[in-house]
Amino acid sequence: MNPALIAGIVAGAVMSGTSLLYATLGEIVGERAGIVNLGLEGIMLIGAASGFAATALVGSPYLGVAVAAGAGAAANLVFAYVVVSRRANQLAAGLSLMFFGIGLSALIGRPFVGALISGLPRLAVPGLEPGGIGARLLSYDSLVYLALPTALLTWWLIFRTRWGLGLRTVGESPAAAFAAGLRPELVQYQALTFAGLLGGIAGAHMSVALTLTWAEGMTAGRGFIAIALVIFAKWNPLWAIAGALLFGGAEGLQLQLQAAGADVSPFIMNMTPYLLTLAVLMLWGWRRQSAAPAALGRTFVGVE
């Protein structure tokens, strides 16, 4: 393997892993509060479209990311109202949210297809030779650099704060949380707002930093990969970092190997990310039961 190939694989894993990480972190917080959100794909698309649109209109990619986060949170609040206040089935509501997101993002993005934007600038570590391997490995946009601190912050929130204790209690047993004086609905609203913020940012990273394009359905299933990553990460933000890099890397790896001239059919190459996903889930499968929040997916109907 040549150094350029390895640098390319690592940089590719970081770039495509970033949006996966944000989305996974958000979903972890939501599921820690006992709510599965299958609509994550839709949230990401809304983020990608609104972030791109705002960047095209105002010219500031940072504002675009902020708008995407706000739009993601707003859409997730609709979901929260349906599943928390109206106590609807989470799986059905999540799938509806996904289709809603596909449609809404197409509507938002339609006037902006083909718009040219200047995306999030790449901030290179100073002093590296331009075009060299060091520059390739250490020149990312600000959302990439912020991903790791966000994961650490999320971990700290969940496991080291009073709010996190309440969150986990709600996810394990809303009745117990209620008996302890917490308001499970409020905690779930807060968790889903946080998840929406991060889901919107995840989408914006794809449109405003990675591709500089908006295209309908451009997340191409990454929202669902993030939901699988939550299981892989055992609902722990620190494991999510490794998972996002692994899954982000799987996609980049096969493209890098093709460019390097590996003697393998491109058809087999394009299968590798999915083969890896299956292999990882097989290896992890036996441990996931113990890690899942006990009340995940259940509807809390209050305590008499």
Partner: protein, 360 residues
């Protein structure tokens, strides 16, 4: 009570809208033409080229009315969209994506008085013809431009789906490059889809990691790849629409685009005159349906002259796939004295010498 008042008000408003419709209608159009696109016409790519052709037709024929629909999927949905256009008076319909073929053909049988032109297919009926650009040989001058402009002697080619026609494009590109620069190699990355933006960006980056200083592509829209290349100071050669230069003017070399306008104009005129003849039309450089895009500022005059001369040569009938042609494992695929052309362009499942990649 309040509800019924609101309902009545809504009905009145709706009635007013419908009543206003016919008043706004203009004089009867000379011809109504329907067009369906599989994506957005602002893609700087394939759909844009179709839109440009139809607009040219509209300018050429006074009074022509154009009804368009974007993002029409390659499913039965497209049949409903085209049916709606026929209800609105369309007498000629351009179904512009490969997967629209069967649905357009179904409608052609049901509506013998409506004429159809489909892009890229093979089906024929008295009121159903098809057309496309002969792209493969046209890629040869693109290779000449790349072979002359490269400093690393490494060219990158992102392919969406490795069908025979796409492989033929890569092959002609590499042959053109080698004709002016025997050391030029083309590395190929297949993304597995015609429009997967994140993968296209990653593929362009991977090619640049492996030394490519010029990247080109055969996907629906060149936008993502051209911008990804420019972000790493790599040059790009475009494909599909000749308008892609504005995506990254500084790093633009040239491009190959479809120019459908003359054919669409002729077709519309033949429908108006009642002389429509179905045919399988395939035209390359110099024949009307393909053109070389304007050069970027970075391209010196001598290279422009060379590329233009090469394009003219292709237009006059030069066929790069004239034997002997050797594949990248050393096997002679087209023996001396033979040449591949026309339908054989879909048969490529091998890359020519100088291409780094596997076709199957």
């Amino acid at each position: 009570m309040t509800r019924s008042i609101i309902a009545a008000a809504a009905c009145a408003a709706l009635l007013a809208v419908f009543a206003a419709g016919p008043v706004a209608a203009q004089d009867k159009p000379s011809l109504t033409v329907g067009a369906i696109y599989v994506g957005s016409v602002n893609d700087y790519g394939y759909n844009r080229s179709m839109k440009d052709g139809l607009e040219e037709m509209k300018r050429n024929i006074p009074g022509l009315k154009l009804i368009e629909a974007e993002n029409v999927p390659e499913s039965a949905e497209s049949e409903r969209v085209m049916e709606g256009m026929i209800q609105q008076g369309a007498k000629l319909i351009f179904a512009t994506s490969f997967g629209h073929q069967q649905f357009a053909f179904n409608l052609a049988k049901a509506h013998p008085d409506v004429y159809f032109e489909h892009a890229g297919g093979w089906m024929q009926a008295p009121n159903f013809g098809n057309f496309f650009g002969a792209t493969q040989a046209a890629w040869y001058p693109m290779g000449v431009a790349a072979g002359k402009m490269t400093k690393s002697n490494t060219l990158g080619f992102v392919v969406g789906v490795p069908i025979g026609y796409a492989i033929g494009n890569v092959n002609a590109f590499e042959m053109g490059a080698r004709s002016v620069n025997p050391a030029a190699q083309t590395r190929v990355v297949v993304t597995g889809g015609w429009s997967d933006k994140a993968k296209e960006a990653a593929a362009a980056n991977a090619l640049i990691d492996q030394g490519a200083d010029i990247v080109t592509m055969h996907v629906d829209s060149p936008a993502t790849i051209i911008q990804a290349a420019a972000s790493r100071n790599a040059y790009a050669i475009g494909f599909q629409s000749i308008e892609a230069a504005q995506l990254a003017p500084k790093f633009w070399i040239t491009g190959l685009g479809f120019t459908w306008g003359p054919f669409m104009t002729e077709t519309a005129k033949s429908v108006m005159a009642g002389t429509f003849k179905p045919a399988m039309v395939r035209q390359g450089l110099g024949q009307g349906m393909m053109a070389v895009a304007p050069f970027g500022a970075a391209v010196p005059p001598d290279i422009r002259t060379l590329v233009t001369a090469s394009a003219d040569r292709v237009g006059q009938g030069f066929n790069p796939f004239t034997g002997p042609v050797t594949d990248n494992t050393g096997v002679v695929r087209i023996p001396a004295g033979q040449a591949w052309g026309g339908e054989q362009m879909g048969n490529f499942d091998w890359y020519v010498e100088g291409v780094i990649g596997k076709a199957k």
